[in-house]
């Protein structure tokens, strides 16, 4: 489904990613792990097209996306979350979920000025979708709360909800468990499985928490210093000598 072939990128002489290749199959949960500065988030930023790759190509569903503009990535069916949460802070949770359905909008500015029945119908459909997501992630209590007054843990969930509102085929989760307490992480692992199995969304996640990785992911890519160490199932990767080295140092 998602395929990276020999991608490299460097920033001012620093090789952030070097000749990295991986392949994500449809329907799986694929994790990327590695110590700080390994270039995990950079991989996401390359897929989201915030950065250009220097070499190599990234393909989504067989189509090369290395030259697509950043906003067009969403329309291809790729949604993402951010490490430090990038929500629309001054708006309510509901509004955030509505904004996320932008790519499904079928009305033009002129009809919106007049608020024609078509616009109203679309608005109702958007709200229905948002309520589905609110039900799925148990966000009922926060529907009308503005984001800047929510605790961090809830914000992370809202951000996942926002990504789901796009109806994506592929969901990129950037450190979903960072900043969550153990109980919240536990909930998170169930939700990730639900999203994957019930909604049929392929998930790629960057994660530190080995427990979470072990619980949910089918395959793991371990990387360090922008290079692949190994790829395999969580148990294999966890005991792989290179991975142990990368974490404990030599």
């Amino acid at each position: 489904m998602l395929e990276a072939e020999g991608i490299s990128v460097s920033f001012g002489g620093v090789h952030a990613i070097q000749d990295l290749s991986f392949k994500v199959e449809k329907g799986e949960i694929f994790s990327i792990m590695g110590p700080n500065g390994a270039g995990k988030t950079t991989v996401f930023n390359l897929i989201s097209r915030f950065y250009d790759v220097d070499e190599g190509r990234i393909a989504f569903e067989g189509e090369d996306i290395t030259k697509v503009s950043p906003h067009a990535i969403a329309r291809k069916g790729i949604a993402r979350t951010f490490q430090n949460v990038e929500l629309f802070e001054h708006e309510t949770v509901l509004k955030n979920l509505l904004i996320a359905q932008h790519i499904h909008k079928k009305t033009s500015v002129l009809t919106e000025f007049l608020f024609t029945p078509k616009v109203r119908k679309q608005e109702i459909a958007f709200r229905r979708k948002a309520e589905d997501v609110i039900d799925l992630l148990h966000l009922q209590n926060y529907r009308e709360t503005t984001v800047d007054s929510l605790p961090f843990g809830i914000r992370k969930i809202v951000e996942i909800g926002r990504a789901l509102c796009m109806d994506p085929k592929l969901l990129l989760l950037d450190e979903p468990s960072s900043g969550l307490n153990p109980e919240e992480s536990e909930d998170l692992s169930f939700w990730i499985e639900d999203i994957n199995e019930d909604l049929g969304i392929t998930i790629v996640m960057v994660e530190h928490d080995m427990n979470l990785i072990g619980q949910v992911s089918n395959r793991v890519l371990a990387m360090a210093d922008g290079k692949e160490l190994t790829t395999g199932n969580p148990e294999e990767v966890r005991v792989h000598p290179d991975v142990v080295d990368a974490y404990l140092g030599t």
Partner: protein, 290 residues
């Protein structure tokens, strides 16, 4: 050839003034990431205080200069203490608006105190000219250039070698980290404001003999801002170079195409700069990390 030289000289001395005001912009920007749009007004206040000291009070010119710089620096300090300190951590747009509002207030207050009639700053060198062949050099022009050079060297030494200068640089890069290592960030920021107001006063004193002083001369602040932008905002030598280029271009445009285009050329240059080479500005900025 002679006109070219004459224009060049006029442009350079005018440009030095822009550069000095731009220095103030850059200093405050570097220390606090705020843009002080009242910088031009501070220069105007400086010039008017100098007029008061020399004309109305009949003090010795050099004493007056020193006292003017101190007084204006003190005004800068007061502004930081009373107003801008409260704006730390507020969105940049809000800070910009506050300083714009401040510019209006300063201009209005200056108008109420000194009136709107043009004033003149008499200096010991006011009427002295040097004749070199066909070229007439006003000593005032030369003093501007010399003063700017001296000030630049002084600032360079200050930032390089004094503890306060280095502390200013540190807190301009990361306030929290600077605070952790024991730099009194609040005091440093206040000092930066005083310093840039002082520089504005020097700009005012140097500029005043070249022109008639009214509360509206503060508007050259916008041109100075253009200078800071052209110089790449964030570098002190850049501010001076930017100022010089704006000053020179303005003179030549005015000579060849009339006053209308001469006046606008700074703005056109500013727009072009922002449009064509935004990287010149953003070169010192990183893309937001996610």
């Amino acid at each position: 050839m002679d006109t070219v030289l004459q224009l060049l000289l006029k442009g350079i001395s005018q440009g030095c003034v822009y550069g000095l005001i731009a220095l103030g912009f850059v200093l405050i920007y570097k220390a606090t990431e705020m843009i002080n749009f009242a910088q031009g007004e501070l220069m105007m206040i400086g010039a008017l205080i100098a007029v008061t000291f020399t004309q109305y009070l009949q003090w010795n010119y050099f004493v007056a200069v020193v006292l003017t710089v101190l007084a204006t620096g003190f005004i800068g300090l007061l502004l930081e203490r009373s107003l801008l300190r409260r704006m730390i951590g507020e969105p940049p747009f809000a800070v910009l608006m506050v300083t714009i509002g401040l510019g209006f207030v300063l201009r209005a207050v200056a108008g109420m105190i000194w009136g709107h009639d043009p004033q003149e700053l008499r200096t010991p060198y006011s009427d002295v000219v040097i004749n070199m062949g066909d070229i007439v050099l006003g000593v005032s022009n030369l003093v501007v250039i010399g003063g700017t050079i001296a000030l630049c060297i002084a600032l360079f030494l200050f930032f390089r070698f004094t503890r306060i200068g280095i502390a200013m640089q540190a807190s301009s890069q990361n306030q929290l980290a600077a605070f952790y290592v024991g730099i009194p960030v609040k005091r440093i920021v206040a000092l930066t404001w005083a310093l840039s107001a002082g520089i504005a006063a020097i700009a005012g004193i140097l500029f005043a003999p070249l022109t008639a002083i009214t509360p509206n001369i503060g508007f050259s602040g916008i041109k100075a801002f253009a200078a800071a932008i052209v110089g790449g905002f964030g570098s002190l030598p850049g501010a001076i170079i930017g100022g010089l280029s704006i000053g020179i271009i303005e003179q030549f445009m005015q000579y060849h195409f009339g006053k209308g285009l001469g006046d606008t050329s700074a703005y056109i240059l500013l727009l072009l700069m922002l449009l064509i080479r935004p990287s010149g500005l953003i070169a010192s900025m990183q893309k937001k990390k996610v």
